[in-house]
Symmetry: C2
Subunit: 140 residues, 2 copies
C-alpha cells in the first residue's frame, strides 16, 4: 500500500444536523451528487458522514454510538488556536468534553464531542510542527 488514508467516515444519527455542524465550522460540502452521504475536504483527505445504520451495514459491524476506541486530532498552530477552535465548535453545537489544559506530554489540548459523540482532540504540539499547508510530517 502507498502511505495514505483517503476518507475518514463518521456515523451519524442525523445527517442534516451533522452537515450543519461541519458547515458552521467552516467546512464546505462537496460532491453533492453523492446520494445519502456527505463529503467535506480536509487537506488531502475527505471527511465523510453517513447514517450510523447504513455505515454499520456497509462495514458489516454493529455500529451505533462511538466509543473512545478511535480519536481524531486537529493540530493547531498555537495554544490560542486550540482555545479558538474549541470555542467555535461549542458555538456550532458541539459539547466541550475535556477543557483545554497543559497535557502530560508537553502540549496543550482539549476535546470536543461532535453532535454524534465522536471525540475530536484539538491540540498544540510544540514537537510536531505543521507545514504552511497544514500538513503534518512526524519527525523521524
Amino acid at each position: 500500500m502507498e502511505q495514505r488514508i483517503s476518507i475518514v467516515t463518521l456515523g451519524t444519527a442525523d445527517m442534516a444536523r451533522s452537515c450543519a455542524f461541519w458547515e458552521a465550522m467552516g467546512l464546505q460540502r462537496r460532491s453533492r451528487k453523492s446520494p445519502g452521504m456527505a463529503f467535506f475536504q480536509l487537506g488531502g483527505i475527505a471527511l465523510g458522514l453517513y447514517p450510523f445504520d447504513k455505515l454499520a451495514e456497509d462495514c458489516h459491524l454493529p455500529g451505533g454510538p462511538p466509543s473512545g476506541s478511535v480519536t481524531l486530532c486537529y493540530n493547531a498552530r498555537d495554544e490560542a488556536e486550540v482555545d479558538a477552535v474549541l470555542a467555535a465548535a461549542v458555538a456550532a453545537g458541539a459539547t466541550l468534553h475535556v477543557p483545554a489544559h497543559k497535557a502530560f506530554w508537553g502540549g496543550y489540548s482539549g476535546y470536543f464531542l461532535d453532535p454524534d459523540g465522536h471525540p475530536w482532540e484539538i491540540a498544540f504540539n510544540p514537537f510536531f510542527p505543521l507545514a504552511d499547508d497544514g500538513s503534518l510530517q512526524i519527525p523521524a
Copy 2:
C-alpha cells in the same frame, strides 16, 4: 478552523502486535522517542496507535473494541490495487471481513479488520481520482 485532520489514533489491545502489522504493511514508524504511543506517516497526516485503556482515559470515554461507527478508507488507484492491498493486509495478519466486490455506488471495495478490529475499507472509486501524491480532492 483550517481544513484538516492531523492524526487518526486507533486504540489497540497490543501495541507490539499492531506496530508489527503496520510495519508489515510498509508503514514506517516515526518519532520513536514518544513513549508508549506509535506514529506512522500517512501522506500529510499521521496514524497513531495507543492502548485502548490509555486512549479511553485520554478522551474520557469508555473505549474498548471498535464498532462500525467510524471507518477508515484507503482509496486505491484501480481494482487490481484493491485486491493487492486486501491480500497484503491478510498476509500481514488482518482479517478479510468483506471481500472485494462491485459496490452499489459504482466502485469496487472490500474491508479488512486490523488486528484490533478497526474496519479499513479498500476502495477504487472511479469518480474520485487520486493525485499523483495520493491525495484526494473531492469533486465539487
